[in-house]
């Protein structure tokens, strides 16, 4: 056992830090640090810079363009990029679909889609949730019926909570292909759908904090070529589970926790709260929780030191990481005090920042706190995660 990172790991950290410092455009960094809205071009710029360096898809195997990092390197990379004010990696294509295609896609699907994900030419929407199927994805009702000639599926249904659908040209979706299957999980398939297909319409959903990055997608007799089926017919559930397993590791969001805690400290100092005993106690408590979370992530993800319930380690990290992040965001609101009150959707864009009624640092604090409610909901609500953890624990102990 050893507390320090190795010299090689420290060198890697410096390399990442130097890269972000040199490459990340100042305006993007400022947006991230102030919690302002990022636009499509901001993500594209940053993702392309990362891809040039070969760092956009750390979880992919080297033969598909991954850098071949181990879990510690990936951890350091997340931490350093986020702490330096870089945008987070949007999960859908890079962290969710990519691993699924690599594991289960046909050679043709891999050749066709993976390079475009890396080049950010294709953005992928996640078509999982439906009005009646949130965290309970086994309940999806969107149907896909194979035409008699066997060449196309005809898809009908209603997807919801589709992040960034307005920027996406493709969607991966869970659809019901066998409504008569004995178990609801057994009749589901995993389809790739062109967003420009006739019959597919996207409607933005306006959220609490004024954002419109979530959408509903209506599918009305959308025809999807049969070669867009991933893996086997009716086996989509297992691919979906595989994908969410990949997602949960990242959505513990330890780097984001650190980013926001640093922001809280900075704001506290600016607001004259450096000696406020109650606030400082809270920040120190977050520090402790963060150390425990970070050590747990590194310990559980490291080979040979896992828990007795390894299948749910990612769920554990997700629950604690997201709830900690939300607590820090709430504290940001408290640090702003009355200055958390002024609210303007417009002023959350860098170009309109000077129209805000408060200091730039405080403009987005309340919006960020509201937006952060999503982290305990997406990727399977924390209640669902607790069910999984409990079930595994009750079996193992």
């Amino acid at each position: 056992m050893r507390l320090q990172f190795t010299a090689a790991e420290e060198a890697f950290r410096q390399e990442v830090r130097a890269f972000v410092r040199a490459k990340l455009p100042a305006d993007i960094k400022r947006k991230v640090e102030l919690g302002l809205r990022l636009e499509h071009a901001d993500y594209l710029t940053w993702f392309n810079l990362l891809e040039e360096r070969g760092w956009l898809t750390p979880g992919w195997p080297p033969e598909h363009g991954g850098p071949g990092w181990n879990h510690v390197q990936r951890y350091i990379f997340d931490e350093e990029t986020l702490l330096a004010g870089a945008p987070r990696i949007i999960a859908s294509g890079i962290q969710m679909l990519g691993p699924v295609l690599i594991a289960f896609g046909t050679p043709d699907q891999k050749a066709r889609y993976l390079p475009d994900i890396r080049a950010s030419r294709t953005w992928w929407a996640q078509g999982f949730s439906e009005p009646g199927a949130g965290s309970d994805l086994a309940a999806v009702r969107t149907t896909a019926v194979l035409e008699p000639d066997g060449k196309h599926f005809v898809v009908n249904g209603h997807k919801v909570w589709t992040s960034y659908a307005q920027w996406c040209s493709m969607m991966f979706a869970l659809v019901r292909t066998d409504p008569t299957a004995a178990k609801p999980q057994e009749g589901i398939s995993f389809l790739l759908i062109d967003m420009k297909s006739p019959g597919l319409t996207v409607r933005p959903i306006r959220m609490l904090e004024g954002g419109t990055d979530l959408n509903e997608c209506f599918l009305d007799n959308v025809r999807v070529p049969v070669e867009n089926l991933v893996g086997e017919l009716h086996k989509g559930w297992s691919y979906g589970k595989y994908l969410l397993g990949h997602e949960r590791t990242g959505i513990a969001g330890i780097g984001s926790c650190k980013q926001q805690l640093a922001r809280a400290r900075q704001l506290a100092a600016q607001q004259g709260l450096a000696d406020d005993a109650l606030l400082q106690a809270r920040l120190a408590q977050f520090e402790v929780e963060l150390i425990a979370l970070e050590a747990t992530a590194l310990r559980l993800l490291a080979p040979g030191q896992g828990s007795r319930t390894p299948a749910v380690e990612a769920s554990m990290l997700k629950v604690r990481g997201t709830e900690l992040r939300q607590a820090i965001y709430e504290t940001l609101v408290d640090i702003a005090g009355p200055d958390a009150l002024p609210f303007s959707t417009e002023a959350q864009f860098l170009e309109h920042l000077d129209e805000a009624a408060v200091a730039p640092e405080l403009t987005a604090v309340a919006a960020n706190c509201l937006d952060a409610r999503k982290v305990s909901i997406y990727g399977g609500t924390n209640e669902v995660q607790r069910n999984l953890i409990a079930r595994a624990t009750l079996e193992v102990y």
């Binding site: 520090e287 050590a295 590194l298 490291a302 828990s307």
Partner: protein
């Protein structure tokens, strides 16, 4: 960071586990020890090499470090055992090894490692809570050596120790003395503690000591801090072990006990409490590793910060686990017969030892 354990580590863990299974039968865990039990268990731990585990090999120890102590303490914690292991071996033993002259070490360390005697650090004083840096117990030079005058409180396992390491104030600052319990003027007032163990208040009334009883006046504060941090790291490991036992007991209870026609394990509200307990346990284990690694690395600033963070977490999550488990066991959990409450008591006691959560939170804050 590297959390890997090697084969020696695994063998040590297994040996302590076996010892605990034999010495601490499940249905008696947490009961006060009879004098005979205490003797037998102490002998057993000596035979296993635990009592000299972190002590230098040149003085009868096995020269291991904080990682090994962690592994042992976690197993002892799981069985609610260990007696004076932390107080005598980890804290007093290591302080003696750090501050003693070669003659002093030769005089006491081999006897500690072999289990012939116990030592205890006499550091706390009335009204000072956890701040030991300004003791009132006075050490005055005399023509033949020293004279101690004052009172120490909450000396853990103080009435089974034959040697006290006494933190005193001298004309030049902090000083540590090795004082036999049998020295004239030393009066030990033993009492039971919340967790069924023993502690003592100790009076030192005009206690006359030879010069050879002074351990050190230089570097005392750093050495005490290091020894206490080693002890706290062991307590964090004990916490992880105790909570692991509590989780196992709770799962067992929820699966067997039926209410409203179904096993309790079927109720989602209880499942969610189990999930939170399971997450706490993983984080406690991680923090035990962090504290042990920080002690092993030995860099004082980082060590203080991380050991304090681990103790905050252990104090809070340990107590939380103990009390939540009582609730999940219902009224049975409040009976003396059910072992769950004994674990809860130990966890509360650990939380109040060597600095509570608030005390260590201030440390963390100071290093931000």
């Amino acid at each position: 960071m590297d959390f890997a354990l090697d084969d020696d580590h695994l063998a040590l863990r297994e040996a302590v586990q076996r010892f605990c299974e034999g010495e601490y039968p499940a249905q008696h865990r947490g009961n006060p020890e009879s004098a005979e039990q205490a003797r037998q268990r102490w002998k057993g731990m000596a035979k296993l090499g635990l009592l000299g585990l972190p002590l230098p090999a040149a003085f009868g120890g096995s020269g291991q470090g904080a990682i090994e102590v962690m592994l042992a303490a976690q197993e002892l914690g799981r069985a609610l055992g260990g007696g004076a292991f932390v107080a005598s071996t980890v804290i007093a033993g290591q302080l003696l090894a750090a501050l003693g002259t070669p003659e002093q070490k030769l005089q006491w360390l081999p006897a500690l490692a072999s289990g012939e005697m116990q030592a205890a650090l006499a550091i706390a004083e009335e009204g000072q809570r956890y701040d030991w840096t300004a003791p009132r117990l006075q050490a005055t030079r005399t023509p033949r050596g020293w004279e101690l005058q004052g009172r120490k409180t909450f000396v853990l396992h103080g009435d089974s120790a034959s040697l006290f390491l006494v933190v005193a104030r001298s004309a030049t600052g902090l000083a540590v003395f090795a004082v036999d319990a049998a020295t004239p003027g030393v009066r030990v007032h033993g009492f039971d503690t919340l967790d069924g163990r023993r502690a003592a208040h100790v009076d030192f009334e005009a206690v006359t000591l030879a010069e050879a009883r002074l351990l050190a006046t230089d570097g005392v504060e750093d050495a005490i801090e290091a020894a206490l941090d080693a002890g706290i790291a062991a307590l964090c490991a004990e916490t992880a072990g105790a909570v692991e036992a509590l989780l196992a007991a709770t799962v067992d209870h929820l699966r067997t006990r039926k209410q409203f026609g179904a096993p309790l394990a079927k109720f989602q509200v209880l499942q969610h409490r189990v999930a939170d307990l399971a997450i706490d346990l993983e984080q406690l284990k991680s923090m035990a590793c962090v504290a042990a690694m920080a002690v092993a690395a030995g860099e004082p600033v980082q060590r203080r910060r991380l050991v304090s963070a681990a103790k905050v977490f252990a104090s809070q999550a340990g107590r939380r686990a103990g009390l939540a488990t009582i609730q999940m066991h219902g009224a049975m959990g409040m009976t003396d017969e059910c072992r769950v409450g004994h674990y809860a008591k130990r966890l509360i006691a650990i939380g109040q030892q060597a600095g509570d959560a608030a005390f260590h939170l201030r440390h963390v804050l100071a290093t931000n």
